[in-house]
């Protein structure tokens, strides 16, 4: 009889479910792909149903259901903080208590009724342990230092672990309210972006700025001689205010925040803005750059400490901050570890995977399994069903079958912007050739078009390239330590100077790109597509961005794909071997 373990994350953001069968990942999916609500926090009932269906089992067949947090320990932290920050916490206390007394304190009951498992089958993993397990057990490393950096879990906001075989041993932690993740989120909010969503935009914006607020940032995020850090709790208010992460002191230090939706017109891309608008945008870019550099410095500082403390030549990273691809690039290039591994769903979604893997290895005492080599762990819709849906909604399409990658390569070389939906959807936030928008990487005009009328997003945001494995070194300077993260588009690296002119659409203003190195074995169809484009254009590189519209999660099914296709300026949609032409 096989043993089934279902890992669950949720109730904060990015709810997800992951199913293990005898320790092997059978399916992994985020609830947002089913509910179509970006960062959906609800208990991942639909994602779990998908996992069970994939394995062909019922809830009653589950041996264990593992939640990614210890809810009562988190409640203890919330209550203690409310007391410690009295009377400033007067607004947040009623809100928090309302949420906890209404639902979260009764999680055991909610889980048993939502997922149909017996109460004695429920396990609870600690938040940072879930993150650590998600990185370490998926990695190819028998021995590694594991560093988790996020907003907050129960108490820890940063934690260091020693991983050896199937044992994860805690080494040290930095506790709430001192948090690098929340520091970055506070700056994100100051720059007029939504928290948990706009952090990528800050990264993109940073490249337009100069680090002239760096000293201020170093006062806000202080590094200590013991390898740790603390934050300035007089400037930040996330520990006592329900909605504002910073006090008026932040504005006093950095100047007025950016109003949401304000056009961004820094000196490198002024457009037709007035001098005062350019100055305001430039100041915001400088804040972004300063915060990004301070975050990178803090992470390098933590990594150095990890190297001194845990004897291992490999470093595994997880937690939302590990999705900061620019920082990952620097850790790979400048850090002391020979190998870097980052969990592709490093945020809270990945906690579901970690919780399940922890139960399998640490609680049930099973040895390590094979490392994670692909992110194609999500839902797939068969070709027959795809054809039926396409026909029923009145799409004009043709069946190209195995010729689709070749045909897509030809379309791309002809300057078309296409959407590519193939096989099982990706685990994690990055589109890696299963649910991607693809374009010729040579033209800056294409980049502007994709930003403006395909994705409807801010013009300053860069696009990532996908490159065939054998050709990566010709175009990008990828440090040896970043070999693994690059397969999952988790590191930003310099574009070689001689290639920057050619790869205009994917080279950011600072000469870098968040590269995906495509492995033919792990992604054969996507590699074929790249090969098709290479045959037509001589270039084994494509612009690759996630196939979603602004404010929506990655498309999942052919219906989602058709709806996104119909609402954007994409030229062609390829879905499971069918080419769909625009419906005019």
């Amino acid at each position: 009889m096989a043993t089934y373990v279902l890992g669950i994350s949720g109730l904060y953001h990015d709810a997800a479910a992951v199913l293990l069968k005898d320790g092997c990942i059978v399916a992994a999916a985020q609830e947002e792909r089913f509910s179509r609500l970006k960062h959906d926090a609800a208990l991942p009932v639909r994602a779990a149903r998908y996992c069970l269906e994939t394995a062909g089992i019922q809830a009653a067949d589950l041996d264990w259901l593992v939640f990614y947090e210890k809810p009562l320990r988190k409640f203890e932290r919330i209550l203690s903080t409310a007391v410690a920050t009295f009377p400033r916490s007067w607004r947040s206390f009623p809100r928090q208590m309302h949420a906890w007394l209404g639902e979260r304190l009764w999680l055991r009951t909610s889980l048993t009724s939502a997922f149909g498992v017996a109460p004695d089958r429920l396990l609870f993993c600690e938040h940072h342990l879930s993150h650590a397990a998600s990185a370490f057990y998926c990695s190819p490393h028998e021995n590694a230092a594991v560093l988790c950096v996020d907003g907050v879990g129960e108490w820890a906001t940063t934690s260091l672990w020693r991983g050896s075989g199937s044992v994860l041993e805690p080494v040290s932690e930095v506790r709430w309210p001192h948090s690098i993740g929340l520091f970055y989120s506070a700056i994100t909010a100051h720059l007029g972006f939504a928290v948990n969503e706009g952090e990528y935009k800050v990264m993109g914006m940073a490249a337009y700025g100069e680090p002239r607020f760096r000293e201020e940032m170093d006062r806000l995020l202080r590094l200590d001689a013991a390898g740790g850090f603390s934050v300035d709790l007089d400037t930040f208010s996330w520990h006592w205010h329900p909605t504002q992460a910073a006090t008026a002191r932040l504005e006093a230090r950095l100047g007025a925040g950016r109003f949401p939706g304000t056009p961004f017109t820094p000196r490198l891309a002024p457009g037709s803005a007035s001098a005062s608008e350019i100055d305001a945008s430039q100041r915001h870019a400088d804040i972004a750059r300063s915060a990004q550099e301070a975050t990178e410095a803090a992470l390098l500082h933590l990594v150095q400490h990890a190297h001194r403390t845990v004897e291992a030549d490999a470093l595994c990273l997880a937690g939302g901050v590990a999705l900061n691809a620019v920082a990952n690039g620097r850790i790979a290039a400048e850090g002391p570890h020979a190998h870097l591994w980052v969990q592709p769903a490093a945020g809270d979604a990945g906690g579901a995977m970690g919780a399940a893997l922890w139960a399998w290895h640490a609680v049930l005492g099973n040895p390590r399994g094979a490392p994670l080599t692909t992110c194609a762990l999500g839902r797939e819709v068969g070709r027959a069903r795809t054809a039926e849906l396409l026909a029923d909604v009145g799409a004009r399409f043709e069946d190209l079958g195995d010729e689709a990658p070749e045909a897509a390569g030809v379309d791309l070389a002809a300057g078309k912007v296409i959407a590519w939906v193939e096989g099982r959807e990706e685990w994690g936030p990055r589109a890696l050739g299963q649910r991607s928008i693809l374009a010729d990487p040579r033209s800056a005009e294409v980049r502007e078009r994709v930003n403006r009328s395909v994705k409807f997003r801010e013009p300053f945001r860069p696009f990532a390239p996908s490159v065939r494995a054998g050709a990566a070194d010709r175009y990008f300077d990828i440090p040896a330590a970043a070999a693994a993260p690059s397969r999952f588009m988790l590191g930003t690296h310099p574009v070689r100077e001689e290639a920057q002119g050619t790869l205009a659409a994917i080279t950011h203003v600072n000469g870098t790109a968040r590269v995906q190195v495509v492995d033919a074995e792990a992604s054969p169809r996507f590699d074929q597509l790249l090969a098709g484009f290479e045959r037509e254009s001589g270039l084994p590189v494509l612009l690759n961005t996630s196939f979603n519209l602004k404010g929506e999660p990655l498309v999942s099914t052919p219906v989602d794909a058709l709806a996104a296709f119909a609402r954007s300026d994409l030229d062609t949609l390829y879905v499971n071997g069918f080419r769909v032409e625009r419906m005019r």
Partner: protein, 245 residues
């Protein structure tokens, strides 16, 4: 019902549209509702067993998406840039407003009930928009947007009515179903009101508890210092794993 509702809509619109800042909020709420409706219609495309309806559901979904953008555009034009972005992008707002839940409408209601719900909701929207257009509220540009949207809504009413009539002709109790949906909308409005009221009252009592129960413990509580600390871990035994703390 129709006369009373029209009278209520007329009075309510005269008041609501003229309160400063209110048009922005109302239009953002419309955008949010249209976005939620798009999700329901796409779910119907996925789940329907009547393949001949897929194209209509799909067109309907695209209409709703376009309407959401149009409404958000008006919010933006009236100065509510942040509100417009939130209406189009913030998933939390859809959940908080009760527009989406654990299941889509189609999953919850099934095909016929879903169609009768669509008919009731769309017919109500048409009535509502016609009142606004008659009163020329809140401003000429928004009225032009409403007029554009109304054309689509009339199509939605038309196809859903055809389906409802077809089901009724086949002996299904569609009149009852529609009446149920109308009353459910009223009931849900009441539930929303009581829930908000309950939350406010709960907040009040929790505020009192904060001042009386929490306050004395302030003397003993401290925030954690920064820097690395030794971890407190519960271990990885089965017993420890079963604990929520």
């Amino acid at each position: 019902m129709g006369l009373v509702r029209r009278a209520w809509l007329t009075v309510a619109s005269e008041v609501a549209w003229r309160i400063p800042g209110r048009p922005q909020r109302l239009l953002a709420a419309f955008a949010l509702a249209e976005r939620g409706s798009m999700l329901d219609m796409l779910s119907a495309v996925e789940h329907t067993e009547r393949r001949e309806l897929r194209r209509r559901y799909f067109r309907h979904a695209l209409d709703e998406a376009r309407h959401a953008t149009l409404f958000a555009g008006r919010v933006r034009a009236l100065g509510g840039v942040g509100r417009a972005e939130a209406a189009l992008e913030d998933s939390g707002q859809l959940v908080d407003a009760g527009i989406v839940g654990g299941q889509t409408l189609f999953e919850r209601l099934g095909e016929e009930e879903f169609l009768s719900f669509v008919y009731v909701a769309e017919a109500d929207a048409v009535e509502q928009f016609e009142v606004y257009l008659r009163r020329r509220l809140p401003d000429p540009e928004t009225c032009a947007t409403l007029a554009r949207i109304l054309k689509d809504e009339l199509f939605h009413v038309s196809y859903s009515r055809t389906e409802v009539e077809r089901a009724a002709a086949a002996g299904r109790p569609m009149a009852l179903s529609m009446a149920k949906h109308r009353w459910r909308r009223v009931w849900q409005g009441w539930l929303r009101f009581t829930r908000d009221f309950g939350a406010r009252m709960g907040g009040l009592w929790l505020g009192v508890a904060y001042l009386t129960v929490v306050a004395p413990f302030r003397l003993f509580a401290r925030l954690e210092p920064g820097g690395w600390q030794l971890p407190e871990r519960g271990g990885s035994t089965l017993d420890a794993a079963r604990r929520e703390s």
